[in-house]
């Protein structure tokens, strides 16, 4: 008798570990197997540095998804931030100090407009943010005339490119990894330790009930979009820093961010989502790309794998939900 209870207890406890962490662990073991150099600081720090923009983006996206929407505009926001920064700094290293706040402002502003359109014009977020995506792409193109005119100065690129050396234990830490920890930490705290997080969950779960319970649905929804916009701007600053100016940096990031959030168990159309799990999703997605790189698979195959993983992750989530009955 006792034995049976114990096994049942073990099994019922198992589903409580988010499967994204299991997936991530398995992928990392596979990467280490393929490339033992991964356990060196250069290996895993490069990995974290590469995952940082996507992880931050996913942390922002989780807010919108949990509140019951999508944000498709973040990819083109990244492009706008990179192109716009190169235009504004105009090779002047001291300009960084005001350009970065301006870019964060553009991110918040984009989110604000998205939120206003969704709340007050009652346009489904899919369409509203799609329109925003097209508009921002057009703006980036108009601003630069198709070819950005300035370099990004090293002061701007500091966040995405530089390393802090002579750190005990790990030898060095990329600045972007510190940004990652701070931003994701902050987003996680807001989501899981404050009233805002509870309200985001509430309006995603049942907006009518949330309104009756006294939640300001519009204000919460707009805040969610603004946080997503902010995360897009930060991701843009990191990507511009990592790799310099180009005109299509952000392409495809919106879908990757949604995939990462969903891999982390965020529920599409709202009500459930976790920032740490989205971080796990982003790391897992980056690990998959790294692994596919190491396997030397051609790019089309990588694309197919990404599509299949997305479907499989959501199917698994649906299956688990049906089993747990929630």
């Amino acid at each position: 008798m006792t034995e049976r209870t114990e096994t049942r207890g073990l099994f019922s406890r198992l589903p409580q570990i988010n499967p994204v962490w299991v997936l991530l662990a398995a992928l990392i073991v596979a990467i280490i197997f393929m490339n033992p150099g991964f356990v060196e600081p250069t290996g895993y720090m490069n990995f974290l540095k590469r995952a940082a923009p996507l992880a931050i983006l996913a942390a922002g996206q989780v807010y919108v998804i949990t509140s019951g929407g999508f944000d498709l505009s973040v990819g083109s926001l990244i492009t706008l931030v990179v192109v716009g920064s190169s235009m504004l700094t105009n090779n002047d290293p001291t300009a960084t100090y005001w350009v970065i706040p301006v870019m964060l402002g553009i991110g918040l502003g984009t989110g604000l407009v998205n939120g206003l359109v969704v709340c007050f014009l009652r346009v489904p977020s899919l369409i509203a943010t799609l329109g925003m995506m097209i508009t921002l792409n057009g703006l980036a193109f108009m601003w630069s005339g198709g070819a950005p005119r300035g370099y990004l100065p090293d002061t701007f690129r500091f966040f995405g490119r530089e390393l802090i050396r002579d750190v005990p234990l790990v030898r060095f830490i990329p600045v972007s990894v510190i940004v990652l920890i701070v931003v994701v930490g902050l987003f996680a705290w807001l989501m899981h330790r404050t009233n805002l997080g509870r309200q985001v969950h509430a309006i995603g779960d049942n907006p009518v009930a949330a309104r009756l319970a006294g939640v300001s649905v519009n204000r919460t929804r707009i805040t969610a979009f603004m946080l997503s916009g902010l995360s897009g701007a930060i991701a843009g600053i990191l990507l511009g820093g990592f790799a310099g100016v180009s005109t299509d940096v952000g392409t495809g990031y919106e879908l990757q961010a949604i995939t990462a959030a969903v891999l982390g168990g965020a529920q599409l159309l709202g009500g459930r989502g976790s920032v740490p799990a989205a971080l796990g999703g982003a790391l897992a997605l980056t690990a998959i790309f790294t692994l596919l790189n190491f396997l030397g698979l051609p790019q089309p195959v990588r694309q197919v794998v990404q599509g299949l993983i997305l479907i499989a992750a959501v199917a698994l989530a649906m299956h688990r939900r049906k089993q747990t009955g929630t």
């Binding site: 150099g37 070819a147 370099y151």
Partner: protein
């Protein structure tokens, strides 16, 4: 259904390797190798007026009168190369009094839109001469043929499968580009050295020929190709790919089929604390500056943007009834080397500006190209 799927899959697997599409044509390779070495006709200080080979086409009987309206169906201005080229073009138009009006339609990189654009221009009835920069070869051929029936047509950059245009303006070509870069590596890296090949996309004719020519020469020189990777022209991806390769072993040279992401690749070496190896880039300012600042061993083959000027000049010749080089106007395809690097580096120009633009002597230089 499952059976059909499996059958399709099996078919694809068994037959896919069969399609040896011909991007590795030894004859074309030899021809372009010869053209690179040939002495072009025309003024040496104005390469956009030069041509390799002496065949000419008479245009006096085409019946166009000055001032004429020139219409330009553009595949797109969706990358910096095309932006620089298009600026060359609009500035060149101002040099010709015989061109009354210049109408530009942008197909945004879509075959369908470009076909409709050409038909739209024909329907409008305003054009006297048409310049076409085709988005893809096969798809645009019928539309260009329709245009040929109505007026003289000039094609440049990518070609079409018809000889109806007055002339087809283009530099030597993809094999030539591949040859220049790979020969430089073969000359500067010892036999058995490790070469990483970075490519943008599969399936694009000009890029495939660059790769096949480069690969042929590197193989013949006994170099070890550690990998050939597609970067999608994405800086972040390029940097990641190079970082991954550096974790696995040494790299003595990097060959690229297009230089847009060259600086990102160089930064991967810098940030990982490695010496920068022998590099093949392109004529973008950011790469040239890096080359000069860091004292690299490098070469920049070019696919010159001055061909956009040549297309307008050809149109002006047609209007004025002068003969033009044709049916192909083959332009020289110079490479930037250590010897002439200083002539092309210009810190006043934007990072993504292509130096081989032949635009330095034009009226609105450098402002119109975004320079200070």
């Amino acid at each position: 259904m499952k059976h059909i799927l499996m059958a399709t899959g099996a078919l694809a697997l068994s037959l896919a390797p069969l399609h040896a599409q011909n991007f590795d044509d030894p004859e074309e390779f030899a021809k372009q190798q010869e053209q690179l070495a040939a002495e072009p006709m025309g003024p040496a200080d104005q390469p956009w007026l030069q041509h390799i080979g002496d065949a000419m086409v008479e245009t006096a009987d085409l019946g166009v009168e000055a001032p004429a309206t020139v219409c330009f169906s553009n595949a797109g201005v969706n990358n910096p190369w095309r932006v620089v080229g298009y600026t060359n073009m609009t500035e060149e138009v101002a040099n010709h009094e015989s061109i009354g009006e210049f109408i530009h339609v942008d197909a945004e990189g879509s075959d369908d839109k470009q076909i409709a654009d050409i038909d739209d221009l024909l329907a409008g009835g305003d054009c006297d001469v048409m310049i076409v920069s085709p988005n893809t070869t096969a798809a645009l051929t019928p539309a260009v043929e329709r245009a040929c029936e109505a007026m003289p047509v000039i094609v440049f950059d990518r070609g079409v499968n018809t000889d109806c245009p007055v002339t087809f303006v283009h530099p030597v070509g993809g094999y030539g580009f591949g040859i220049q870069g790979a020969e430089f590596i073969a000359d500067n890296v010892d036999e058995g050295g490790n070469v990483l090949m970075l490519r943008i996309l599969p399936g694009v004719d000009v890029l495939e020929t660059r790769y096949s020519a480069g690969r042929r020469i590197l193989d013949e020189a006994g170099l070890n190709i550690v990998g050939a990777e597609f970067t999608d022209g994405d800086n972040a991806k390029t940097k990641s790919i190079v970082e991954d390769y550096l974790m696995r072993g040494e790299i003595d040279a990097v060959w690229m089929d297009a230089g847009a992401t060259a600086v990102a690749a160089i930064e991967a070496f810098e940030d990982s604390g490695y010496e920068i190896p022998v590099f093949v880039g392109e004529d973008q300012q950011d790469f040239l500056r890096k080359w000069q600042d860091e004292g690299l061993t490098a070469i920049a083959p070019t696919y010159p943007t001055f061909q956009w000027r040549t297309a307008v000049i050809a149109a002006a010749h047609v209007i004025e009834g002068e003969a033009v080089p044709g049916p192909e106007w083959v332009l020289p395809q110079p490479a930037i080397t250590q010897d002439n690097l200083d002539e092309y580096v210009n810190p006043a120009m934007p990072p993504l500006h292509y130096a081989m633009c032949g635009c330095e002597d034009m009226a609105n230089y450098p402002g119109a190209w975004g320079g200070n």
